[in-house]
Symmetry: C2
Subunit: 322 residues, 2 copies
């Protein structure tokens, strides 16, 4: 993995992925006690940054691979990103999703033309299911984070952050990223090493699913004790990726752990102050920026709101925190 | 009023107003039966396009005028736009607001450092109140729409639409704009005459407050029978402006009238499909684009979502339409 792969992905994504805005509000600055910039990836196609990685990978497939089709496993955002990227390339897609994924994510994935295969998150191994179906049906498996082309696609968020923050006069900052398997976090970290070397990436995770934070502290890959039980479904993953972890070790600062309640409050403030819809797992970084000021040292924080695919009932809980 | 005034305003706004994104979703295209692009001005500073007009006007004041301060009357969005523009220029601001304006708008205006004077929308004339206080305290009155510098500021939305739509491959379209007094509608229309001559602007209004639609049809300025009674508070105005109406007459197509319920449904779809927060009056144009397909002829519609300052209780009503 290197910056050239990210720049190549940016070229492939040009005109297809959206350059999402870097938002801000004086009200959020006041809460955080410093300047807060929000990279609104919830405004990306399919409502999350995952479209970038999906497009980055699918756009490199041969005509034969496209004709056979692709397969992905995902709690829902990678599902939609790969489904839309496949559809726009004319390729069939099979998506393996946990049976407890938010309904909106399952429905959208189907509506984007993909075939959805549900599995039991507690008792089945999605990686094994994905690999089995891929083999049986000759599909190309697009992993959600441990895949160089996917990491390169997500890393384009970092290129945009560097350019947009510089335009806003910010070249030194803590960059907080909602972190599941680490594809986005490691991609952004790699991009910033080159394009904004005074920025430092910190993963943000929900309490109980802080595998990356603990792994970084321990210097080795550790797993979470459970596989479900947070409203932050998008970033609940068993452990950091084999590819992503060494990148995060080399380039990231300490992780920040937030509660589900913090995420709901951050969602409410994003609604009120930025007019964006953020899902719980997509709000972890903003929650860290707003409610854990002691974990950061600099004058500016850039928080990536990674997704906005949230059921109305959960969004109402966020509104009730206001 | 001419395009040069809009281009000059764009220069003054550069680096201060946000270039808001042009969003889209295949799901919305499907509902409308054509391509739908959404200019998300709810993502502008203070949550509405009004910051543009406020900045455009305040940035032209002399040092003495800035020292004395400004005054504006507004249901809430112009209030916040002027308040922030004044604050960033170091000028005091007095804002005259109706006593039934959404709480969030009153609170935000105060939090942006402005002095808020409340009036009774049914029995008092805000123009008279504004002019009286302006005279007594030597403040510069910044009218919400019948003011060339304000129209020029709002017109910068049109310049951006022309450039962003062209980048997306769209040069012919119906451009639907939520319309109160007509400052934004006339500004966009003027900008497009020059920069996208194959686009045609249509004002969108709530039923019962369709003064612009009726005035355009009648060829003369007509008033609304009532002054309140729609959830679309941002675009409930007594009649088209004396300056804005002739511009709309010269350059706009027919208006489209939508119901409050249409606006709530459009807000729900903007939440679900675009991940943006839109207020009722800011959703009228999207409602027209999605639910009144027979009113448009072309293959593409560009809808401007003009604001996102909505109380949670009203937003929950929108979520309940999903």
């Amino acid at each position: 993995m290197n910056i050239e792969m990210i720049r190549a992905a940016a070229l492939r994504l040009q005109g297809h992925a959206r350059v999402t805005p870097l938002l801000s509000s004086p009200f959020l600055d006041k809460i955080a006690g410093r300047r807060v910039l929000v990279k609104a990836e919830c405004l990306q196609h399919t409502g999350s940054f995952k479209f970038r990685g999906g497009w980055s990978a699918v756009s490199m497939l041969s005509d034969e691979q496209l004709m056979n089709g692709v397969i992905a496993y995902s709690s829902g955002n990678h599902a939609q990103g790969v489904a839309l990227a496949a559809k726009e390339h004319g390729a069939p897609a099979v998506i393996v999703m946990p049976s407890d994924a938010p309904k909106i994510k399952v429905n959208n994935t189907r509506a984007l033309g993909a075939e959805v295969v549900l599995y039991d998150r507690a008792n089945e191994d999605r990686d094994a299911i994905g690999q089995r179906i891929a083999k049986e049906r000759n599909l190309t498996l697009i992993r959600p984070y441990d895949e160089p082309l996917v990491i390169a696609g997500q890393g384009t968020v970092g290129l945009e952050i560097a350019a947009q923050a510089a335009e806003a006069g910010v070249t030194e900052a803590d960059v907080v990223v909602c972190c599941g398997g680490g594809g986005l976090t490691s991609g952004i970290a790699l991009a910033l090493v080159e394009d904004a070397p005074k920025m430092r990436v910190h993963p943000a995770e929900p309490a109980g699913f802080d595998d990356v934070t603990r792994s970084l502290a321990a210097g080795k890959i550790l797993s979470n004790p459970s596989v479900s039980g947070s409203i932050c479904d998008a970033i609940v993953t068993p452990q950091p990726g084999a590819l992503t972890f060494p990148i995060m070790q080399a380039h990231c600062g300490a992780g920040v752990v937030v509660t589900d309640e913090d995420c709901l409050r951050a969602m409410g403030l994003a609604y009120e102050r930025l007019k964006i819809v953020v899902e719980p797992g997509g709000a972890a970084a903003l929650a860290a920026a707003l409610f854990y000021p002691d974990q950061f040292e600099g004058d500016a924080i850039i928080a990536v709101t990674t997704g906005g695919n949230v059921d109305p009932a959960t969004f109402i809980r966020a509104l009730e925190t206001l």
